[in-house]
């Protein structure tokens, strides 16, 4: 006869606390990708990626053929030729173009990764474990950054590798280290900033629909308002009232991209301190909101 399992002691070795953030992040990502709709969003995001893959292939072929003076039927416009090799604009624009799918995906993921924790008191569970609030924040941020990176920085890095692989030599990688740094820096900036803002919004609103509405407001309504105001005040003459663009967080992130990719555009250089200030305010505000919500969690009631 089978006897019921007795209680057993455990005497394993404990991992460092830093690794516990990864457990939180992994659980968050698992909860998101358990839902089929996120695979659909990911697929949508990858359509653009596959188009860029084809474009990179065509460019590398055209560059090689042009070097041999062989005419190429599917000529890629000249303005695109340097985008992936010299300036990195192509990668910047690719990451920027992923914005729509990324924002929709993050809008839905916010409630699952963060909002539900506050709604169903899972935060009390986390904080009763041997981790602190910062570990919890980092774990959740890592989950959002991981999802955002799947659509932005990782595909961009794959494009970079692809370009080098289809080139004549590996010199592409050596000559374009600054582009690689730009991809990583811009991608990381986008992921961390949007992730932090998402944590703030989702922790405050908890449910999916309100989170989506406010998230949409930040990345759809604010840009429309910013553009409208800029156009309206611009038509009255005088200097371009670019500062209205500071309302649009996604565009502000793009302004910093030029700096990170080493692209020198005079007007964007002037705006950089303002852009960094706005990004800093968004991040600071979001962290404060998240912290405030987390501090209100009563582990023992």
């Amino acid at each position: 006869m089978l006897r019921p399992l007795e209680y057993r002691v455990w005497s394993g070795k404990r991992r460092p606390r830093a690794l516990r953030c990864w457990s939180i992040a992994r659980t968050g990502m698992m909860l998101v990708f358990r839902r089929k709709i996120f695979w659909a969003f990911l697929f949508l995001g990858f359509i653009n990626f596959f188009l860029h893959c084809s474009l990179v292939y065509l460019i590398t072929v055209q560059v090689k053929l042009a070097a041999q003076d062989v005419p190429f039927a599917l000529a890629v416009p000249d303005r695109l030729l340097g985008n992936f090799a010299e300036t990195g604009k192509g990668y910047r624009d690719f990451i920027f173009s992923q914005g729509v799918v990324l924002m929709i995906m993050l809008g839905f993921a916010g409630a699952i990764i963060v909002g539900n924790d506050f709604r169903f008191r899972a935060t009390a569970f986390y904080l009763s474990r041997p981790i602190n609030r910062a570990d919890y924040f980092l774990g959740k941020l890592l989950a959002v950054v991981g999802i955002a990176a799947l659509l932005t920085v990782i595909p961009a890095l794959v494009l970079f590798l692809e370009y080098g692989a289809f080139s004549e030599s590996f010199a592409y990688y050596v000559d374009n280290v600054s582009v690689l740094i730009g991809i990583v820096a811009y991608g990381t900036l986008i992921c961390v900033v949007t992730g932090t803002v998402l944590l703030g919004v989702a922790s405050l609103l908890e449910k999916t629909i309100p989170t989506l509405i406010v998230w949409g407001g930040i990345f759809v309504f604010f840009p429309i308002v910013g553009n409208t105001l800029r156009r309206t005040f611009g038509e009255r003459g005088g200097d371009d009232p670019w500062w209205w663009g500071l309302i649009d967080l996604w565009s502000v992130l793009r302004w910093t991209a030029n700096f990170l990719f080493g692209i020198r555009v005079e007007r964007y250089s002037e705006r950089l301190p303002w852009a960094l200030g706005v990004i800093g305010l968004w991040v600071l505000g979001s962290v404060l909101v998240f912290w405030w919500r987390l501090r209100r969690t009563e582990v023992v009631r």
């Binding site: 209680y7 455990w10 394993g12 404990r14 991992r15 169903f120 008191r121 981790i131 023992v300």
Partner: protein, 343 residues
């Protein structure tokens, strides 16, 4: 605990106080809790939750110092939680996770490797009779399953100390008995220290050997339950079958008195009597025998032991009586189902 293991005190608090603004929520001049099963009792607002927060290192005391399992509360809050298993009163689940995923996550957060945590999650859920429900989502569980599941996530990292907040909340009598048996087994058979915070005095009576009584944010009594109980040499508890009137009259004539009278199931009557000085148990038996056919049949007799409800009332409620009835104590006379009443 000291390095040589000489002391097995799980909690030591010295001059510790916790304030919310200017309000003092908890103070303990000197509290030493030894290894064992400890009942944490007190009316609402007595400071139980605050004390648990302090023990888990979630709340920094303003004054004083304290240790849990030998670790200083102020400096080692995270290490304390790694060695303590906490079962919350309220549900706090990550929605969407299955039981085994959730318990495994709890293990990983306590520092176990994912592989160890998963294996341990299976073991603990099986031990707690949730084997069949391991792959079900936690939010679909019944109340009894949820309580056992909460115990599983507190146990997964094999803690030395379990802090259980109302573990029998919402359970039917059978589920309650099972839960209490589990807790008692964890203490007696596997050497876990248990702090049981509850309103149910019978739960404490069944599981605990020590008691910490709180009232108005202060520790009003603590120690072994047997030592805290009043022992009366002149009081006896009798169980009679039939009409006890003639016995009560005869007892009065002999200088004794009936302190309480309860009707037991059937035709039994339970009496608590006080005998005159110098009289013993044998004298009661002789008194019943002398009444002959007029007397009720004496079914049992033994020394009267103070019940936990009476102990609570004596220490907490009577202490608060001058405060114009802002609290009522548990009756202690309702078969042990007494609850510490809301202040």
């Amino acid at each position: 605990m000291t390095a040589n293991g000489a002391s097995r005190d799980i909690v030591r608090l010295a001059g510790l106080s916790v304030h919310y603004g200017s309000f003092c929520a908890f103070r303990a001049t000197d509290l030493v809790v030894p290894h064992g099963a400890i009942g944490l009792l007190g009316p609402n607002g007595a400071g139980k939750s605050t004390l648990i927060k302090v023990l888990l290192g979630l709340l920094r005391p303003r004054d004083g110092s304290g240790t849990v399992l030998g670790l200083a509360i102020r400096e080692h809050s995270s290490e304390i939680r790694a060695r303590v298993g906490y079962m919350a009163e309220n549900d706090s689940f990550v929605p969407g996770l299955t039981a085994v995923q959730f318990v495994s996550l709890a293990g990983e957060l306590a520092g176990m490797t994912p592989r160890d945590a998963l294996r341990r999650a299976h073991e603990v859920l099986t031990y707690l009779d949730l084997e069949e429900a391991r792959y079900r989502r936690v939010e679909e569980f019944s109340t009894g399953m949820k309580q056992r599941f909460k115990l599983a996530q507190a146990l997964v990292h094999d803690p030395e100390l379990l802090i259980l907040d109302e573990p029998t909340n919402g359970l039917d009598p059978g589920g309650r008995r099972t839960m209490l048996d589990l807790i008692r087994s964890l203490h007696r058979d596997f050497g876990k220290s248990v702090i049981l915070a509850t309103h149910l005095l019978e739960d404490v009576d069944r599981v605990c050997d020590h008691l910490v009584l709180l009232d108005s944010g202060a520790v009003v009594a603590h120690g072994r339950i047997d030592e805290l109980r009043e022992h009366w040499k002149d009081r006896f508890r009798l169980r009679l079958d039939g009409d006890p009137t003639s016995f009560i009259d005869a007892l009065g004539g002999a200088g004794g008195e009936v302190i309480s009278r309860e009707a037991s199931p059937g035709s039994h009557v339970e009496l608590v009597v006080r005998l005159p000085e110098g009289r013993r148990c044998r004298d009661v038996i002789e008194l019943v025998a002398s009444l002959g056919d007029r007397a009720a049949v004496l079914r049992s007799i033994g020394p009267d032991r103070e019940r936990l409800g009476d102990l609570f009332r004596r220490i907490v409620v009577d202490r608060r009586a001058p405060l114009a009835g802002d609290s009522t104590g548990p009756s202690g006379d309702d078969g042990g189902r007494s609850r510490v009443a809301t202040a």
